[in-house]
Amino acid sequence: MQYAMMIYAEPGYAEALPDSEREAVLADFAALADDARCVAAAQLQPAEMATCVRVAGGRTLMTDGPFADTKEVLGGVILVEAADLDEVLELAARVPVARYGGVVEVRPVVAR
């Protein structure tokens, strides 16, 4: 059985920590990513880099910024490799929730 662990945090929390604690945080994340049970792990770029995609009447609508949570909740995570933002936005528009009133938020992963 696979599980997704969704990580919510206050932006910049790690930067505010003393150096030694921050290093411990990074080491803990690295250990989790290296754990044999971990399938894929990704750190996302800041929320300002987000683009939201909806499909209405067959048209793809995009807006700048992260998804402001209303009654919808995070229902899944798909990690993809794409050449540029246009390519991933096309994939996002194919996620079914995008045409049923839901939103797909696209955010680049921090490169390692």
Partner: protein
């Protein structure tokens, strides 16, 4: 120049830096050696070479350069260069700046900065924000382009219609900022529209938007008398720029020849009809009808009704207006007031003007409505 550098370097900041360096070198060299045969090409090539030097030093960025290795070019040989050798990448730049994943205000600022060549301080003044705010807005947009991989490319054919709509919307937004008094932005939008129409000669809507802006712009000096708004029928036509109207009509003809049926082409056709000696109001109403079908906009329906009234049927116009759900809209009430007045229903007309006055914000609007109210 910037477009070519951004295309080459894939990075806004580096392109701007390289351009500045090239200008500095030119300022030093040209007074002594004289102007090169082709200053534009000289600047681009110099900027490119400077950028390559810098990137070679930085090493890690070398994979970001699309065109490496570039042959070493000796400064003196470059004078032989022709502008056509340098690839025009302004179209790619337009689509990058107007990418809908960027905030709209960022798209507008970036387009003016990168394609219009306006200084950050000028853009800040035009949008009534501090230079610091505008600087942040620009760097945020540039950071998002870089961090999210917004491509420097003309979108694929299946994406092009939507993406072209976004570009046209940005240019029209810039134009409308200029229309409310800041003439320089209006002229800048027309220049950008001209660049887009030249780069996409087969896109009727690009020509439609350009024609629309030109015909409107040609009437700008007649729209105000002092502080007061002057309606189309009362405008002093000698203040119109007739050469610009003719040029706008020629652009419209091109759009129509391309079978243009889009919203900008229709609006340009309406603007063109309204500059005729005898305005063909039934034809204007017909075009508004088509525009309403296209946009589903109640405001367009209101304009159609106003055209019907001008065509001589105020009763039909009032019936059309009363079907609209626009209670919070000033021009809904002022149009109703005008129609009721023409039908001799003065009490109802006064009530409608009263409601319009409650919604009016600017002084010229208030003065205009008060005058109409008192004339009853």
């Amino acid at each position: 120049m910037l477009a070519s550098l951004v295309g080459f370097l894939g990075d806004f900041d580096k392109a701007e830096e390289a351009a500045q360096e090239a200008f500095a070198i030119a300022a030093e060299r040209w007074p002594e050696s004289g102007l090169p045969a082709n200053p534009g090409a000289w600047l681009v090539t110099t900027a490119r070479n400077r950028a390559i030097d810098r990137i070679r030093r930085e090493r890690t960025l070398s994979e970001k350069i699309h065109l490496l290795p570039v042959p070493e070019i000796v400064m003196d040989v470059m004078d032989e260069f022709d502008d056509t050798v340098i690839k025009d990448e302004r179209l790619e730049l337009i689509f990058t700046c107007c990418h809908p994943a960027l905030p709209l205000e960022g798209q507008v600022a970036l387009t003016l900065r990168a394609l219009g060549g306006l200084e950050t301080a000028e853009i800040a003044r035009a949008f009534l924000v501090s230079e610091e705010t505008m600087k942040r807005r620009l760097s945020r947009a540039k950071a998002k382009i870089k961090a999210t991989g917004i491509p420097f490319a003309v979108p694929a054919a299946h994406l092009l219609p939507d993406r072209l709509d976004a570009v046209l919307a940005v240019i029209y937004l810039i134009y409308n900022e200029g229309y409310s008094g800041r003439v320089d932005l209006g002229a800048e939008a027309i220049r950008l529209g001209g660049v887009l129409a030249a780069l996409m000669p087969d896109e009727p809507e690009a020509h439609g938007l350009l024609a629309l802006m030109m015909i409107h712009h040609a009437r700008r000096r007649a729209r105000f008398s002092g502080e007061d708004l002057v309606l189309l029928e009362d405008q002093d036509r000698s203040l119109w720029d007739h050469a610009q109207i003719a040029a706008g009509r020629a652009v419209l003809d091109r759009a129509v020849a391309l079978s243009g049926r889009g919203a900008y082409v229709i609006q340009a056709a309406i603007a063109s009809l309204q500059t005729a000696e005898q305005i063909d109001w039934p034809q204007v109403a017909e075009l508004y009808q088509r525009l309403a079908e296209l946009t589903g906009s109640a405001v367009v329906e209101l304009n159609r009704a106003a055209a019907l009234a001008q065509a001589g049927d105020p009763a039909a116009a009032l019936r059309a207006v009363d079907r609209l759900d626009l209670d919070g809209y000033l021009y809904f009430h002022s149009t109703r007031g005008e129609l009721l007045r023409r039908l001799g229903r003065d009490d109802e007309a006064r009530a409608a003007y009263q409601r319009a006055l409650e919604l009016a914000i600017t002084t010229p609007e208030r003065r205009f409505l008060t005058r109409r109210f008192e004339e009853l």
